[in-house]
């Protein structure tokens, strides 16, 4: 179906089902219980899962397939956000023009940066992209203040023209919408003490994320994708056979930049603000972490990695000492305080530490990322049933790991 074989269709359908039921899956704990802290099914975070999923999927098309490690992808995210917010300011609060412009500008931007950066490979390519991204960041941060509003970030104002929308006399800022349907409207259903929030913005992001995922699936399975893999396994040999690999890598770079722009546009559509720190090198590093954590070169891995990191950033960072005391309150006083002191460095502002440790563990023990973990568990169960799948392992050489073992 849809140009996919049976296995991929099944895979896509599973992904569709997972995305559609996210608001239910992410609310496993009843409200009012101590574990409700770990619920993640609120609109902002679900939107971030979908958006950073798109970002990581796009990054993976470049890094996972060609092996080119771009350290400046956040620049495209930022450019996308700025373009979208400008559309909201000038044209209309409808998100469609904003997102289209975001994809287009980031595509052009990626073409320029890619054209220069792709003259080198390996570490030099990474450094070049990093340099371009930092340049963009600094420009956005200070030099281009009239366009980007510097450190404060570009925001909507009451007196923006918005020529396609009607005159706004309400005295409050309009909200982003798609043909009148507000992105922040949502409906809540309570089932067995669990509150499920179905949010328009999330479903909008989710549908786009599924399309983005489908596109990346097709790219992975296409001859073009095969070319990109060839670049990764041995670009030199490819060049010796007379093939010019640069158009392929440039195409991959632009596609991946447009994915990032799409993610940036969506971020701005969900929350109409574009800040320069979206372009900072830490943001570029984050998408690299997401991809490696989840499993570079796999389809689902980057999405998992994105979800993992965003979950830590938003959920673990909010556990403070008061919450900890609440958890351990059943224990005797001395022990309670001791446990709070022991756990304290790993939660709240220490969420980076927990994430760092997990990242280290994943890289050391699961070089293929979280996906490899899943596969190993699946293999444990499979081996018991039959060994048919692996009759001739020699003819299915393993993929080289993306992180040094």
């Amino acid at each position: 179906m849809l140009g996919l074989n049976k296995k991929d269709t099944k895979f896509l359908l599973i992904v569709v089902a997972l995305t559609m039921f996210t608001p239910i899956i992410l609310q496993p704990f009843a409200e009012g219980t101590g574990l409700a802290q770990f619920n993640a099914g609120y609109p902002d975070l679900m939107q971030r899962f979908a958006i950073f999923g798109i970002f990581a999927i796009g990054f993976n098309i470049l890094f996972g397939l060609t092996g080119y490690l771009s350290f400046g992808h956040a620049a495209f995210l930022g450019v996308g956000s700025y373009s979208a917010v400008w559309m909201f300011k000038l044209l209309s609060m409808n998100v469609i023009p904003g997102i289209l412009l975001a994809v287009a500008t980031s595509g052009v931007f990626a073409l320029l940066i890619g054209y220069v950066s792709l003259r080198r490979s390996g570490i030099y390519f990474s450094i070049l992209t990093l340099a371009f991204a930092q340049m963009s960041f600094n420009l956005a941060y200070s030099v281009l203040t009239p366009i980007t509003n510097g450190e404060t970030g570009l925001q909507l104002a009451l007196d923006d023209p918005r020529i396609l929308d009607g005159v706004n006399n309400s005295g409050s800022l309009p909200v982003t919408n798609i043909f009148g349907l507000a992105m922040n409207s949502s409906t809540q259903i309570e089932v067995l003490g669990r509150v499920w929030t179905f949010n328009v913005g999330y479903y909008f992001c989710a549908i786009i994320a599924i399309l983005a995922f489908y596109l990346s699936l097709r790219i992975f399975r296409s001859p073009f994708g095969m070319m990109l893999r060839a670049v990764k396994s041995n670009q030199q040999r490819m060049n010796y056979t007379g093939l010019n690999s640069r158009p392929y890598t440039l195409a991959a770079f632009v596609i991946s930049g447009m994915y990032a722009g799409l993610a940036g546009g969506l971020l701005a559509s969900m929350d109409p603000l574009a800040g320069a720190e979206r372009m900072q090198w830490t943001a570029s590093g984050e998408v690299v972490l997401m991809t490696i954590l989840g499993g570079a070169g796999t389809l689902m891995g980057p999405v998992l990695g994105a979800g993992f990191i965003k979950y830590f950033e938003n959920i673990f960072s909010k556990i403070n000492d008061t919450v900890l005391h609440g958890w351990f309150s059943f224990m005797p006083d001395g022990l309670e305080d001791l446990l709070v002191v022991l756990v304290h460095p790993f939660v709240g502002k220490g969420w980076h530490l927990t994430l760092g440790i997990l990242f280290m563990l994943v890289v050391v023990f699961l070089p293929g990322g979280l996906i490899e973990g899943g596969q190993r568990i699946a293999a444990l169960f499979k081996r018991k049933r039959s060994d048919d799948d692996n009759l001739d392992p020699e003819h299915h050489p393993k993929q080289t790991p993306h992180v040094a073992e």
Binding site: M1, L2, G3, N5, M20, N39, Y42, P43, D44, L45, R48, N138, Y141, S142, G150, E151, T152, G153, Q155, L156, A157, L158, D159, S170, G171, S172, L173, V175, L181, N184, S185, S186, T187, Q188, T197, F198, V200, Y203, I207, R221, D271, L273, G275, E277, R278, E313, N314, S317, K318, N320, T322, G348, K349, W351, H352
Partner: protein, 447 residues
């Protein structure tokens, strides 16, 4: 591999449209149950404390969080009640707010607008916070204030000193107790004229973001009005940690005063660099070279150590003040944490109390009712003398302290001495002053 099948594709498309169609009716049922965003219905009410726990302003954030916890304790009737007993409005009774027990959630703004907004959104959407407060950077405060306006909750700004917060970026749902760049300049200028004369050449180093710009604009305007000459204004990135390359040009610029429009870690580093370059020992134009830091805090003074001795600046509040409110606050903060509070802690404590009091007086958590109760509110007993919350721009007006780094501090908290308390009348300005023009409050949004 590519076995495209148009009829199935059509089927799937129809399915997608149909499911989207199914989702539509449920959307219109949204937000009909509650009168406003996150109306507290149970026996508790949740406030969101959104402060920087990492980044350049982490010290201030940590102190703010302590003050918030103290305020919640006092609101719920715990501790010694702090400034609740000295507050001129006695609506609060120690039984929470409107009889509801006060709970709170915390978040890390990372001193980044994006992260701050994500954190605030999660407080509003997940934890059902009815009020968001915090921020230790004007950029962040303005971003979060905009978010709260859209979401329909009240934003009580913490440590934000930019003119823009209640100037061109003011919002109907946002309120600021802290003073601003204009007030600092207005308070400092007479003292500067008095001590350093009216014939000076000033060189500005400015943190490159909204606070720095408005601070620089304000202090430059105020000193030029004295007759000072502005030699140059140089912007430095907020993330800088070494300012040597910015200090070196000052030596040959002919300037005899260096104005550091820096805050937090920035100021600690730039001041240290300036002292290392021997600026303070120089004689330029037959005058002793001087350094001015428009916005001072004790946490910064501690970071810069002996370098702050004799340097003038302004501050919102200082723990050595002797009025009953300040003393009560310092006592309860000191009892709980073992050291005196900073001005950041003071302003957020006041903001929490002011919000709770406004709710109590309005008899409702509705943001519009709360805003109405705060607008034009006159109060006293919170450490700054008689204070007025102006309705036009939601800015508090109160006395401003001009302080100086102590020459011989007795302990690590006793670093600043109050030189002068500039009366409120001297730092007031019209709501449509050019430095604050260009924005509109809009209307309060209840979600």
């Amino acid at each position: 591999m590519s076995t495209s099948n148009p009829t199935r594709r059509g089927l799937l498309k129809t399915g997608a449209i149909a499911s989207a169609g199914l989702a539509v009716p449920t959307i219109f049922t949204a937000s009909s149950a509650a009168a406003f965003t996150n109306e507290p219905t149970g026996s508790t009410v949740t406030l969101g404390f959104n402060v920087p726990q990492t980044g350049a302003y982490a010290d201030e954030g940590a102190d703010e969080l302590r003050a918030y916890e103290l305020a919640v304790e006092h609101l719920n009737g715990g501790g010694d009640g702090g400034m609740m007993s000295t507050f001129s409005s006695q609506a609060l009774n120690g039984a929470g707010i409107l009889g509801k027990q006060v709970q709170f959630v915390t978040g890390d703004t990372q001193t980044k607008s994006d992260a701050a907004r994500a954190s605030a959104r999660s407080m509003i959407e997940k934890d059902e916070a009815v009020m968001i407060t915090g921020g230790s950077s004007s950029g962040v405060a303005i971003a979060v204030q905009g978010l709260c306006q859209e979401a329909g909750v009240i934003f009580m700004a913490g440590l934000t000193h930019s003119n823009d917060t209640t100037g061109k970026d003011k919002k109907a749902n946002g309120f600021r107790h802290f003073f601003n760049g204009y007030m600092s300049a207005a308070a400092l200028a007479p003292v500067l004229a008095d001590r350093y004369g009216t014939d000076r050449n000033a060189y500005h180093l400015t943190a490159d973001y909204t606070w720095g710009w408005t601070q620089e604009e304000s202090i430059a305007a105020a000193t030029e009005a004295l007759g000072w000459n502005t030699v140059d204004k140089v912007r430095t990135p907020l993330a800088s940690t070494d300012f040597s390359s910015y200090i070196a040009p000052v030596l040959n610029s002919g300037a005899d005063v260096l104005v550091l429009n820096h805050y937090g870690g920035n100021m600690v580093n730039s001041l240290t660099n300036a002292v290392q370059f021997g600026l303070r020992d120089r004689i330029v134009n037959d005058k002793q070279f001087e350094i001015v830091v428009p916005l001072y805090s004790r946490l910064m003074a501690r970071g810069a150590g002996a370098n702050v001795a004799g340097i003038l600046g302004s501050t919102n509040w200082h723990w050595s003040l002797q009025d009953a409110g300040s003393q009560a606050f310092v006592r309860s903060f000191g009892t709980k944490y073992g050291f005196p509070p900073s001005q950041a802690a003071h302003t957020v404590y006041c903001q929490t109390l002011l919000y709770a009091d406004a709710v109590q007086r309005a008899g409702s958590f509705h943001p519009c009712a709360v805003a109405e109760a705060l607008e034009g509110f006159d109060f006293d007993g919170l450490g700054n003398g008689p204070t007025h919350y102006r309705a036009d721009d939601h800015q508090c007006f109160k006395d401003v302290l001009v302080v100086r780094g102590k020459e011989n501090p007795e302990n690590e908290f006793d670093l600043l001495e109050v030189v002068e308390v500039t009366p409120r009348a001297q730092v007031e300005y019209a709501a449509d002053h050019p430095m604050f023009a260009g924005g509109a409050l809009g209307e309060c949004n209840g979600g």
